[in-house]
């Protein structure tokens, strides 16, 4: 178990470094002045000069790349060219809000999609399976920001049930929850379908395995077998797909934040694009990448806890 997690951790770190390298090359290895590209057109000459010095832009590219990755890993993402505050502070302040939105969105999708998938798998080709199948296939590719706009039109503008913009009054928990409902619905809806489909396929596969017959031969009820002995195996591939899908989840949350003017990484990055404040924009890319890699590592850990075979096979 220990060595497996160490290996996954090293791999995660490697992926993060390589992703940072890709980002570095796109900013620094393109024709033009790297300082202007990295800081954006609104940076002052003094800021650019400071930047050139800090990044050592006269060094060979390899040295620069290593230095860049080192700085990012240490959380030093430069300064906001407008407010002069460290980018890391801004990004880390916005991060929890985006994580909350993504987790609540995914949470309700799991809470609904998982039982739907289980029921479908236990009654294959029944009417309920068909209905769940059609609905999940219909919602699975819907862009979340579009659902956000439609939700906004229907539930805030027309019906007035939920507030339209912002994240709610600080300190007022009820208000914050009311502000979270529509964005979370928009972020999660496609995932309901996705999870239901994944769970169904995975459950059906495990239900066909031999050990299920053993349990039935000992008179254990089908429902008990499904929930206690099949589901724990069936969720493993679902989890690994969810880990990879984390990127889509975060992208969805980012766009939904913009639709609802909700503070968070998405709004931060969008405002940075509009105000040409590039260090903040690149900083949010870096932090979101790190978030994705972390989420994937946590998924790997969860999988290792669920399936002891994976640990030994590597």
């Amino acid at each position: 178990m220990g060595s497996y997690l160490v290996r996954r951790f090293v791999l995660a770190l490697l992926v993060l470094c390589l992703a940072l390298l890709i980002l570095f090359l796109l900013i620094y290895a393109v024709p033009g002045d790297p300082a202007t590209i990295a800081l954006g057109p609104r940076a002052s000459e003094a800021q650019k000069l400071l930047f050139r010095e800090r990044m050592g832009l006269d060094d060979p590219l390899v040295v620069q790349a290593v230095r860049y990755i080192g700085l990012m890993l240490r959380g030093d993402m430069g300064t906001d060219i407008l407010s002069q505050r460290p980018v890391a502070d801004l990004v880390l302040a916005a991060l929890p809000r985006t994580v909350l939105l993504a987790l609540v969105g995914l949470g309700w999708a799991v809470a609904l999609g998982l039982p739907l998938g289980v029921v479908s798998a236990l009654n294959p080709n029944s009417w309920i399976d068909r209905v769940v199948g059609v609905i999940s296939t219909s919602v699975v590719a819907l862009p979340s920001f579009l659902m956000a706009i439609y939700g906004l039109m229907l539930f805030s503008v027309t019906l007035g049930w939920f507030p339209a913009i912002g994240a709610g009054e600080p300190g007022d928990f009820g208000d914050q929850v009311r502000h979270l409902v529509l964005p979370a619905l928009a972020v999660g809806i496609a995932w309901v379908g996705y999870i239901a489909r994944l769970v169904r396929v995975s459950m059906l596969e495990v239900l066909g395995e031999n050990h299920v017959k053993t349990y039935r031969a000992f008179g254990v009820s089908n429902l008990r077998i499904a929930l206690r002995f099949v589901l724990p195996i069936a969720v493993v591939p679902v989890l690994s797909v969810l880990g990879v899908g984390m990127g889509n989840l975060l992208s969805g949350a980012v766009l939904v934040e913009v639709v609802f003017s909700r503070p968070g990484l998405g709004s931060l990055a969008y405002d940075a694009v509009v105000s040409r404040n590039f260090p903040v924009l690149f900083g949010s890319v870096v932090v979101t990448t790190a978030l994705y890699v972390t989420a994937n590592f946590l998924t790997d850990t969860a999988i290792a806890l669920l399936d002891p075979r994976i640990v030994e096979e590597g």
Binding site: A217, G219, P308
Partner: protein, 322 residues
Amino acid sequence: MSAVLSLESVSVLYRKGRTMVPAVRDVTLEIGRGETLGLVGESGSGKSSLATAITGLLPSGGRVDGTVRFEGSDLTGLAASDRRRLRGTAIATIAQDPFTSLNPVVRIGRQLVEFQHWQTDRSRAERWRRAAEMLAQVGLSDPEARMRQYPHQLSGGIRQRVAIAAALLVNPRLLIADEPTTALDATTEDQIIGLIRNARQAIDGAVVFITHDMSVVRRLCDRVAVLYAGQVVETGPVGTVLGDPRHPYTKALLACDPAGIETPTRLLPTIPGTVPAPGNLPPGCVFAPRCTAALPVCSQRSPRPSAAGPGHSAACHLMGTA
């Protein structure tokens, strides 16, 4: 000797497209208390289907015709929940493949506790203790340690011992072993057969042993039923059937048994051809196309079982002539 299990014209049919195809046809058998019956045949002969008809674990789309009586009461008329209770208490199965028959992500101990879940008079701690006892009884050292392991950490032989222990945990009155040694090497096979022989003495009931291996039948069973294409072609006491086989298929099976070959040879005898598919049975005797002694009548009329001795019968047109 009262019958533990009696089958009366049992057929097992599977849905294939729009028609129902018989995997087992018109099987009548009786197994008495203390008896071990060997069900023998090649793969495709319907042995496993017959076992599922007894346990009631037919795959969806399957159907059993005829009556299956367990200790006198008809199982086919039972409600699903009663049938399920019977499986957890009176009828136990030793699964075929030790490598896949245990849940891979659950520790052995928890699985053995789960198998006793109809033994409602036992507490959880008691179930755990009984499981450990039973593992010791099937010859596993340090049962507590085994119970904390996962199936993939154990060898095939140990897993099959666990499967036997599991079956004995519920004090069954009918034990069904579906080719429990096929996936194992010869030494382990010997040990497992020894264990099943002991198990037979431990349980107060009967054993149905499914195999394709005549030498295993010889070592373990009291009576034998030879299945071919879903039909019983010959049945009787092991001594007479194996000593004086009357059906050409039984003779062929015996000839193929490597244990019966006395002089070293490089040629493993086989029966030419394959078992016909259930939906595509030949007219007349089902074995006729592969039978070396077939007469013209064999491909026209289906032979009826006729007596060949006490408790011994075979279904073959040659019975009168040979």
